[in-house]
């Protein structure tokens, strides 16, 4: 059939995925420590059109694209705005760095520093996973907890542990796992970021930009739909009118 139908349809499919990504950003516009995703598309490897029946020495007559495909969904690790909560168990990272969290599936990383104390007195995430220090989970007995910029935790002045804050040479290796957690095979290195107690990092989603992207994505979808329709009309003519006697 007409190649343009498939080309335009590939545009519609790509814009659908882009809209999915934008919808996820908007849904998490209020999620602590969330980092936005952007869908990056690329054109299909351009097709070489060749003249047929020209023998072995085929001279190319040019290239033709065959639509688009989402190549990558990249997570943008820029800082979110930091808001004051006044809660002593809320931590934000100013600069680079992720908190290490012990989950049943292994060590995971997060920027969501809304922690609590478990019934056993350990520092845990809101799902109950222990937040890791240099020597395992951090035990914080009853008392006034205070965390320095370097991650040193003291309770009523007595040392309770040192938070493990890690950064990675390439943040793109981090895979989102949901529940504010990232997974990676790398071990990372000690981070340069500073810990701020009593603050939370908001998501870095810019609502205005996302709304603009939503409109742009929708219009791109629309024009692709129109292209499919135009091609369909051409086919209609070819099938129903050209052959008419």
């Amino acid at each position: 059939m007409i190649r343009g139908i498939y080309t335009a349809a590939s545009g519609m499919v790509a814009e659908t995925t882009r809209t999915d990504t934008i919808a996820n950003n908007l849904a998490n516009g209020n999620t602590t420590g969330y980092k936005k995703d952007i869908a990056i598309s690329k054109d299909f490897a351009s097709l070489l059109i060749q003249r047929i029946n020209d023998g072995p020495a085929v001279p190319p007559i040019g290239t033709l694209g065959a639509g688009t495909v989402i190549d990558e969904i990249a997570t943008i690790q820029t800082a979110g705005s930091i808001s004051s909560t006044g809660n002593s168990l809320d931590f934000a990272v100013d600069g680079k760095g992720f908190f290490a969290v012990e989950t049943p599936a292994g060590v995971r990383f997060t920027r969501n520093g809304a922690f609590t104390r478990s019934g056993q007195g350990e520092l845990v995430t809101s799902e109950g996973f222990p937040v890791l220090g240099q020597n395992g989970a951090i035990a914080i007995p009853n008392g006034k907890i205070s965390v320095e910029e370097t991650g040193r935790v003291t309770v009523d002045g007595a040392e309770a542990g040192q938070l493990r804050l890690v950064e990675f040479a390439d943040d793109r290796q981090l895979v989102k796992e949901g529940n504010s957690l990232y997974r990676t095979d790398e071990n990372g290195q000690p981070a340069t970021g500073k810990i701020m107690q009593g603050f939370l990092e908001q998501s870095n989603v810019n609502i205005v930009a996302e709304m603009v992207n939503l409109i742009a994505g929708y219009r791109a979808y629309e024009v692709n739909a129109k292209t499919v329709q135009a091609h369909d009309q051409l086919l209609d003519k070819a099938v129903n009118e050209v052959g008419k006697v």
Binding site: N28, G86, K144, I215, A225
Partner: protein
């Protein structure tokens, strides 16, 4: 159908829960000893369409993958146990805890409940009770002819009668490793759970426990301005998610009208 429809739907649901929490905070802005709640969110699972690190050739691999998220979910409504403001009342039976800890209350079924609301009263038997009539634990019985009641910062209660001043009891307060894990029962009462840990009971002022202030009440720790800002943020977040749903729906409409 489009993933975006469901994804944006989760966003609307989450913001609704957020607004519920904010409304409850605002409704209790004047409730003695009330502690504000905060809705916490996390992103939902991700669908991996293409795995990062997959081999694309003998020595090459994909640097990044394609993962599409599925929205957001509420993970907790955390109570924030920051200190509320103190209000002077001039009433001898009003107590406020300055610092950590809870008053212990004996419930009708014999179990203990915990509260920061120190607006006690005297019942017909002279016991110090909550507004609901539940006695304070350990029980304090005030003599009939008492002209005044004094509670010291460390919880020692003494009553002055025409015969003189005598000690009538000691108020103890309970502390929890994780007060945010207490189960809220409403009526200013909370119950111990596995998450809160077991109560550590002691005299006020001892081992880091809070001290008592007589003739004062602790107001709620809700900050109206903060809640109003949160409310605006929640409303707008709700709104953009509904726009995303509309857009996804329009896209489906476009797809449906391709075939005429």
């Amino acid at each position: 159908m489009l993933r975006a429809l469901w994804t944006a739907g989760t966003g609307m649901v989450a913001q609704q829960a957020n607004l519920d929490t904010i409304s409850n905070n605002l409704a209790n802005v004047n409730t003695t000893g009330f502690k504000k709640g905060r809705a916490e969110f996390q992103d939902l699972m991700y669908q991996t369409i293409r795995q990062a690190g997959a081999a694309t050739g003998p020595d090459t691999q994909l640097p990044t993958g394609i993962q599409v998220g599925h929205g957001v979910r509420q993970v907790a409504t955390q109570k924030l146990y920051g200190q509320g403001n103190f209000q002077s009342t001039g009433n001898d039976y009003d107590l406020a805890i300055e610092g950590e800890g809870f008053f212990q209350i004996t419930m009708p079924d014999g179990t203990l409940a915990y509260t920061r609301d120190g607006s006690f009263k005297k019942d017909s038997q002279g016991r110090m009770v909550t507004a609901e009539g539940y006695p304070l634990e350990p029980q304090i019985t005030v003599p009939d002819d008492a002209t005044s009641l004094t509670v010291s910062a460390d919880g020692l209660v003494s009553a002055t009668t025409p015969a003189g001043t005598e000690e009538i009891g000691q108020i103890t307060i309970a502390r929890f490793v994780n007060p945010a894990g207490l189960e809220n029962m409403g009526r200013n009462l909370a119950k111990e759970t596995e998450a809160s840990g077991v109560p550590v009971v002691g005299n006020p002022g001892a081992d880091g426990a809070g001290t008592l202030a007589q003739q004062y009440l602790e107001m709620s720790n809700v900050q109206v301005v903060e809640e109003m800002v949160n409310m605006i943020v929640a409303q707008r977040a709700y709104e953009v998610n509904s726009k995303a749903i509309q857009t996804a729906d329009d896209m489906l409409g476009q797809a449906a009208s391709l075939k005429r």
